[in-house]
Amino acid sequence: MWRPFRFAWSGLAGRDGAARGPVFARLGPALVGLALGLLALWPALGPGFALRYDMVFVPEQPVRLPEGFPRAVPSDQVVALLSAVVPAEIVQKAILLGLFVLAASGAGALVGDALSPRAAHGDAGRDASGPGGTPLVGGGGARGPRGAGARRADGAGARALAPTGLGSGGTGVLVAPLAAAAFYAWNAYLAQRLLIGQWALLLGYAGLPWAVRAAARGGAARLAVALLPAAVGGFQAMLVSALTVLPVAALRGLPRRPGPESRGRATTVAGAGAGRGAHAGSRRGARARTVLSRGRQGVCRAWRRLRRFPGLRRHLGELHRRHVRSPGASPALSSVSSPGPSSVLSSVATPLAVVVVLSLPWLVPALVSTADAVADPAGVTAFAPRADGPFGTLGSLLTLGGIWNSHAAVPGQDMPALAAARLALTLVAIAGFVRLGSARLGSVRRPAWWRGLAVAACAGLLIACAGAFAPGVPRALIGWWAGFGPLRDGQAYVAPLALAQAMGVAVAVTALRAAMPAPVAVAALAVPVLVLPTFALGAFGRLGTAEYPEEWRRVQAVVNGDPAPGALLSLPWSAYRAFSWNGGRVVLDPATKMFSRPVVWNDALVVGAGGGRLIRVAEESPRARRVGALLAGPATAPLTGALRREGVRYVLAAGVDENTFLSRLPGATPVYRGAELLLVRV
């Protein structure tokens, strides 16, 4: 076997897990993310900028605060600062590729915590060692030399010690994070939001697993670091993260419901806590001791139930033993030591404070601007989720699709066979997630983040469904207060459901590994790609690169080199363009980001609703509303004086027919006239 491949395979399959398993557990998900990112972004990684819908990167972007609602704050400012050091197109490619790596590594880390934190950090080999220190295969030996793993090694050991490391828990604990990583970095949500260019939202999506992990573990500094990508992303990324992080922080401390399994878990974990003396006060310890015997009975009952699934029991039970034995068991996995429901508010206070502080860059301008900005309730109808497959809107949302814009759907996404495969994968993933939190798993503890993530996933799905099935609710809220405006694009809040499904996929692959040979479980890593294959290669050309024509750079130099104050008015009076030099891909007007002075542009949005019907979502910027009214006046009415009174110094008209606009600006001076652009000083 080719040497690199052999190394990779042995790492995946768990052979020599003590040495290589930890490396793959840490780096494997990130490498999966990198590979999937390269596959998805390949055409967008060439020279030039990838420009599509809201994804607008420009060369030498200046640092400037926008007018109106701060939708691109602080993402634009961060990009501008980075572009001062590194070329903007490199910054864009690094961000896009980083999204995949961050998302995949986070999902892998989260599932690694849930299923095998110690295995991921080198205990696999130690736990799996026999008396003589010889590593048994994977985790099977953790049951001791007389366990089933040892029997397999002693007996027909040829199979147990096969080069692939079959018959071990090691494969499961290594493949499960990879499966979660693959699913979280390759699904309809990520694909559609990428195709509509919302990379800033995807920063929040990519950082979500890390944020959940940090919220479950506690600590303001840890959470702040984990939320940094979302903080850079801005309002939508932070809202999606807050929707997830706050329930996780609130519910990580809730005691489990009374039941035999939970009593058993309470006993074992409290025992471990007492052993290391790290947590559990004396009152809690005493209570734990009183349920010791009942807990033992509960564990035994759980084991008996799991006899029907010997393979799964082997894997999960071995992992459980590692948790209980390990003195450094992650607090993210211990819910018994956490406070009760009475302190839910105090649990939320710190994460809420972190979220608010990190949101200040956009929150302050938003609160200031909402005094005169308007959020049009018509946006609810325009941006409601839609069915992008044969299973209706709900089916689309459950399979993480359903974005409002049909042009943002992955090509071929509506093929019935593929949609059915995605739905089947979704059902398996949801079942796996439910099983992860179910007492039926017996000896494996429910992760501390499970309840919160479940609540966030349901809440996100409800918000998304509201736009489609009860649009009156978000419409009334937005009409009451413009601050509810972000609710109009409800599908964005499906992100926690994607994370929950990724965790469920990991559980399913663990079960698959328990029932089947390792190659089948490893092959299952490809399933997320197989059910959405046309996301590859930039969704087959939907993502690509383009160079700005030279005249854009010249106009930029002229305008940014002028020290005189005054805004720039960008025409034609529409937010989106389809330039031939960009392959006809629709993109937000680049002028909105290219200049160091305020830019007046039409931030009204026009959405086709089928049958030639258009939904118009009104402007949010007050100055845009006033200038729009001016432009809508008689076609021959002069505008120079009125534009000067609005503080406009330059008018930039893009498009071959826009030179006719010059006739409406008597007294203005053309500064630049090119094939595509006309720049006029008013």
């Binding site: 839609r386 814009n405 049909s406 593929l418 389809a578 629709v586």
Partner: protein
């Protein structure tokens, strides 16, 4: 053995469907025309 065969069959079916989807999508399609004005999108 039966489980493995079933898994292989499912995998082969998935790969087949994925291939069909890729072939369909990879076929050349008309690019949208050059437009100075454009909707944000269509539902």
């Amino acid at each position: 053995m039966l489980k493995v065969l079933a898994a292989l069959a499912v995998g082969a079916a998935l790969a087949g469907v994925a291939s069909v989807a890729v072939v369909n999508v990879a076929a050349p399609t008309a690019e949208p025309p050059n437009k100075p004005l454009y909707n944000y999108g269509d539902r």
